[in-house]
Structures are given as structure tokens and as C-alpha cells.
């Protein structure tokens, strides 16, 4: 700060500056706004920080996640295929995470199934049918949907969807389908806005050619625009699915968190994320249950990497 004060006074600045710091010293290079290296350092360090963060998270989760197999000698295969999750049982505790992996997958795919038709429909409406209205009204509505915190979705699910399920399908109302509906609504705006972007990116010449050979609006959208936007639309859906896969809070409130394998979509279930958030605080660092929860997190990370690989694969195919 002392140096900063010196620089404020232009009369003494040049004289004392050469005394205090070397003109081409590190400090000058980092503070002069015309300096080339200052921008370089700022931008490079942001990029490096990003890489460090991703590597650190991956490494940390890997080390923690492998503890239950290396230190506690759980069998990896029985861990991911076992269906009995009784970590607190005094005799013969068992760690079978398959119901959670299945639950996560089921919620994700059901949510995509619910969200995709509505999201693509909205995207077509915004990008093809009502372009002006779409950007003026629909865009803000979608942004609001994105901005609603997941706990609010959970609360609405708990107060509306769960009682609805209970009245119409019996049981307690907490079930897989309720979780999928809540998450489906949550990923709707993500899928819709990316899908709208990819539809807008389809060159107008394609549409004009279609109209020129006498196609109707609907024929143009269905036969020309959607196939042309094809893989981008799939990317939008996969991105939505990866978001659905990681959602914990809202799902936890409506899915019931039962550790047994569901027999139908009207049975309560649990996902990887809900079991982690439910139990983590109650476990002590280094206990087997704690390690097993880290392993669940590790599996979560691996599966989200798979989603990213799929997205990369799809976008590369599009660019080629």
C-alpha cells in the first residue's frame, strides 16, 4: 500500500519509483495496465487454477473413494452389485450400493423422458414459431425456472406431487416417479434453452430450400430443422441428464430414501446423492460407512465423467 501512495503523487512518483522498485521489476510488470505480462499472468493463473481445481477434486475423491476397498477391504464388485445396504447392522454389516446406482439411473432417464418432449417443444416454439414473443416472454420465463432454488422444487414436490401420488397410486406417495417428475421439471429449462440455441444455429438456407420445394412449416421443422439440429439436441438432453444425475436436495425430499431396490416406479427408492447427503453428517471420519459414502461419491464422479465423454463425442461428431 505504501508504494500505491507514492504513485498517487505525480511529482515524486518518478523519482521515488526508480528508487523503490525496478522499472522492469516484477511489481511493475504486474501493476502497469499497459503491460503485456500482467494480462498474461491474470489469464494464465485463472486457467491454471481451473485445472488444479478439477485435478484436485478428482484426485481427492479417488483417494477417499478407494479407501473403502483398500483400507476397509470391501469387495468392489459386491459393492457395486450388492443390493443389501445395512452399514449399521451389528453382525455382518453389508454395503451393497446397487439400489442407489439403479435409483440414480432410473431418476435420470425418467426425468429425461419427461423433460425432453416438453423442452424440445418449447425450443421449437421459441426458435421457429414465435421468434419475437419467444425471446421476449419465453426467455425470461426459462431464466426464472433456472433461477428457482432446488429446495423450492423439493418443497413443491413434497406438498403437491407426493399427496397426488398417494391419492392416485396408493402407498406413501414417496416414489421414484415423484423424484423423476421433480427433477424433470428442474432440467426442463436447461434442455429447452440449449435446444433453442441449436435450432437457431441451423442455417436459414436449409429452411428456405425446404419452403422452395413446397414444404409446409410443420414439414420443414420436422423433416429439415430437427434432423439438422440433431446431435446438438441430443447434447442438450445429455447435459440435462448430467444435471439430473447430480441433483440431491429436491430428490431427497420426495423419493423416500429407502435402501431396497424398487420393484416399480411407484415404489420409494434412493439415489447416490440422497444417501450421501442423508448419512454423511452422522458418520465419523475414517469409519467404514464414511469411506463407503466417499466411494458412492467416487462412483458419482465416474458416471458424470461418462456423461461428459458422451457430450464430447456428440459434439465432435457434429463438428466433423
Amino acid at each position: 500500500m505504501k508504494i500505491g501512495k507514492v504513485a498517487m503523487d505525480p511529482a515524486t512518483a518518478t523519482a521515488s519509483k526508480s528508487k523503490l522498485i525496478n522499472e522492469k521489476g516484477l511489481f511493475w510488470r504486474l501493476t502497469d495496465r499497459t503491460s503485456e505480462s500482467r494480462g498474461k499472468v491474470l489469464i494464465y493463473s485463472s486457467a491454471i487454477l481451473m485445472i488444479v481445481a478439477v485435478t484436485a477434486i478428482t484426485l481427492f475423491l479417488t483417494i477417499q473413494g478407494l479407501r473403502s476397498f483398500v483400507v476397509d477391504h470391501l469387495n468392489f464388485w459386491t459393492f457395486i452389485t450388492g443390493t443389501q445396504w445395512y452399514p449399521d447392522r451389528a453382525q455382518n454389516p453389508s454395503f451393497g450400493a446397487f439400489p442407489f446406482i439403479f435409483g440414480s439411473m432410473a431418476v435420470t432417464f425418467l426425468a429425461a423422458l419427461i423433460a425432453t418432449p416438453i423442452a424440445i417443444g418449447t425450443a421449437i416454439f421459441m426458435a421457429e414459431l414465435a421468434k419475437k414473443w419467444g425471446t421476449k416472454v419465453m426467455q425470461p420465463i426459462i431464466e426464472i425456472l433456472v433461477g428457482i432454488p432446488s429446495v423450492v422444487y423439493g418443497l413443491i414436490g413434497l406438498s403437491l406431487i407426493v399427496p397426488f401420488m398417494r391419492v392416485h397410486f396408493g402407498g406413501s406417495g414417496f416414489n421414484l416417479l415423484a423424484g423423476a417428475i421433480v427433477v424433470g421439471i428442474m432440467i426442463l429449462p436447461t434442455v429447452a434453452s440449449i435446444a433453442a440455441d441449436s435450432i437457431r444455429a441451423v442455417p436459414d438456407s436449409l429452411r428456405q430450400a425446404s419452403y422452395a420445394i413446397g414444404a409446409t412449416k410443420w414439414q420443414t421443422i420436422w423433416r429439415v430443422v430437427i434432423p439438422a439440429a440433431g446431435s446438438s439436441l441430443v447434447t442438450a438432453i445429455v447435459l440435462g441428464m448430467s444435471r439430473a444425475f447430480g441433483e440431491a436436495l429436491a430428490v431427497q425430499m420426495v423419493i423416500g430414501n429407502v435402501v431396497t431396490l424398487p420393484k416399480s416406479i411407484f415404489d420409494p427408492s434412493a439415489t447416490l446423492t440422497t444417501i450421501i447427503t442423508l448419512s454423511m453428517g452422522h458418520t465419523t471420519t475414517g469409519s467404514i460407512l464414511n469411506d463407503a459414502l466417499w466411494s458412492l461419491g467416487f462412483i458419482l464422479l465416474l458416471i458424470s465423467y461418462v456423461f461428459i465423454v458422451i457430450i464430447r463425442f456428440l459434439s465432435r461428431r457434429r463438428n466433423a
Binding site: 501493476t31 451389528a90 398417494r166 425430499m253 429407502v258 454423511m280
Partner: protein, 312 residues
């Protein structure tokens, strides 16, 4: 322009420095808290003024009481800063053992967690919490024998009419593995029988909401969550004994647990002063009942870590 830039960078540097320093300060707060009482002493108070920082964390069941006591303690000792966090009993015990929390709050004895060295931790039992089963009013049950209660929770009985209620399916609402409430209920209400699988929720408020809205649901929660003129859930009596503070204090009602505060070894002077404050009448006769707990001083029975009950 130049002036502004330099200022901005200077500010950013100072900011990041403070961040780093405060982060370091957090880690070592347990060590520094006792040594820092040298600051200017309050001339009006006759006793030596306390100063420093205490970090408390763990059980969310004990968090409201700790927060209330911390607020009052800080009002009396303006140089003391107390931070009360949640995180769960397991976190409280782990972090107290690691030295990151000055006080770790827990609903369960440290002895019950396999990888916590209970001997290294000093146990302060600051309050008692009673628990009982909460039943949806439509089930038509107000009292169950312990045997019937166990039959309900282990899944042997699936319909309320089998235990004297209405013809309604039973829906269980459990707590997650490792939860203090679940451990207490399993041990003292179910006599260590493993409950059948049911809906699992962590937060007591969510559990209460589910039980009140789902016909035939049964779960369990702390007595403080049953309010006098609230008929959304039924407070279940066990073996004809009503679940209230008097019956818990006299030992007639079995389902209760201590709320613990653990320190790693002997507490520092500041931490000790705070623990003494919590055990003082000011907190034990006012805040403890106000927050729905029982004072340890009112208990006519006591328990050890294995759950053995004896007269005090």
C-alpha cells in the same frame, strides 16, 4: 487511472491476505484461544475479562441451545467470539478429535462410534432430550405396548388394526443410519431390534410433515417437536407411560438421550468458562427448558455409555 489500479490491486492483495490469515486462524483457534486473554480488561467487571474465539459444531439437535447460550455468553463477554455450526453428530466427534472444533456436539456417546478415541475426549452432558414415536392421527392409536411398538417397527405388523387401531396400512418413517435420534430410538424403544425399511428423512421438520400428511404413518422425534395444542401428529405413550418431561426425569419413560459436548482433552480456560456457563442455572433453568430439552440437574436417573440406567 493509475492510482485507481494500484489501489484496486492493493485492496485485492489485502483481501486475499485476510482470507488466508482467517483460514489459518480457524485451524489453530483451539490453541490460541487460551493464550489471548491478555487484551485490555474491562474496567467495570471485577473478574478477568475473557477474549478469544470458540468454534462449536456437530449435532443439529443441540445446535439451537448452543447458539442461544453462545449469544448470551457473548453479550456478557464482548471480546469473545463463538461460532456455532451444524454438520451432524459424526462430524462433531470427528472434528473435535481432530482439533478443528473446540467443542464437538453429539447426540450419542463417543464410545458408540468405532473409530473415535473416547478416552481422548472429555464428555460434558449439557442436556437431556426425550423422544417418542409420532403417529398420524388417522391410525387411531395413542398408546402401544413396547412389544407392539417393536412389532410395528420391525415390520411384523403391517396394519394398525392388529395393534388396536383403525384398518389402515402402516407406513414407517425412519432416520438415516448413524443418526443420533435413530440410535436412541433403536436402543431404548426397540431394544436394539433392526427396524424394517421405510421412508428415510433426516430433518425432524420433514419427518413431522410426512407423518402428519400420510395416513397411517409412524416415525419418531424429540419431545420438543410435539407442541401442546398441535394435533397434526399423535404423541405416542409406551406401555401406558406418557412421554413427558416428568416421566423422562424420573426414569419411567425409557427413550431419552444425553446431549453431549466433547472437548479434546482438558478444555482451555475460555472453553471451560463457556461450558461452565452452559451448566450454570442461568442456562439450565431458562434456556434448556425453553428450547425443549431437560436439564441434567433434574434427572433422577443416569446412564452410562452402554445404556445401563441407574438411580442418581
Amino acid at each position: 487511472m493509475k492510482k485507481k489500479n494500484l489501489l484496486a490491486i492493493g485492496l485485492a492483495l489485502v483481501l486475499s491476505l485476510t482470507l488466508i490469515l482467517s483460514a489459518c486462524g480457524n485451524g489453530s483457534s483451539s490453541g490460541s484461544s487460551d493464550s489471548s486473554s491478555s487484551s485490555k480488561s474491562d474496567s467495570s467487571s471485577s473478574t478477568e475479562a475473557l477474549s478469544g474465539k470458540i468454534t462449536i459444531g456437530g449435532s443439529t439437535a443441540l445446535q439451537p441451545l448452543a447458539a442461544q447460550a453462545a449469544k448470551e455468553f457473548m453479550d456478557k463477554n464482548p471480546n469473545v467470539q463463538i461460532e456455532v455450526q451444524g454438520g451432524g453428530s459424526g462430524t462433531g466427534l470427528s472434528e473435535a478429535q481432530a482439533g478443528n472444533f473446540d467443542i464437538g456436539m453429539s447426540d450419542v456417546f463417543a464410545e458408540s462410534k468405532s473409530n473415535i478415541d473416547a478416552k481422548a475426549l472429555k464428555d460434558y452432558q449439557v442436556a437431556v432430550v426425550g423422544m417418542t414415536a409420532a403417529v398420524n392421527p388417522k391410525a387411531g392409536v395413542k398408546n402401544l405396548s413396547k412389544k407392539d411398538l417393536q412389532a410395528v417397527f420391525t415390520g411384523k405388523v403391517k396394519n394398525w388394526k392388529e395393534v388396536g387401531g383403525k384398518d389402515l396400512k402402516i407406513t414407517l418413517v425412519n432416520r438415516p443410519d448413524g443418526s443420533g435420534t435413530r440410535a436412541t430410538f433403536d436402543q431404548f424403544a426397540l431394544d436394539n431390534k433392526t427396524p424394517a425399511e421405510g421412508i428415510t428423512q433426516d430433518s425432524t421438520n420433514t419427518v413431522k410433515k410426512i407423518i402428519s400428511e400420510t395416513p397411517g404413518a409412524i416415525g419418531y422425534m424429540a419431545l420438543s417437536y410435539f407442541t401442546a395444542n398441535d394435533s397434526s401428529v399423535v404423541k405416542l405413550s409406551i406401555d401406558g407411560v406418557e412421554a413427558n418431561d416428568d416421566n423422562v426425569a424420573s426414569g419411567k419413560f425409557p427413550v431419552w438421550a444425553y446431549e453431549h459436548m466433547y472437548t479434546k482433552g482438558e478444555p482451555s480456560k475460555l472453553v471451560k468458562a463457556f461450558l461452565d456457563f452452559i451448566m450454570s442455572d442461568a442456562v439450565q433453568t431458562k434456556d434448556v427448558p425453553a428450547q425443549g430439552y431437560l436439564s441434567v440437574n433434574d434427572m433422577k436417573v443416569q446412564r452410562d455409555a452402554t445404556g445401563k440406567q441407574s438411580d442418581k
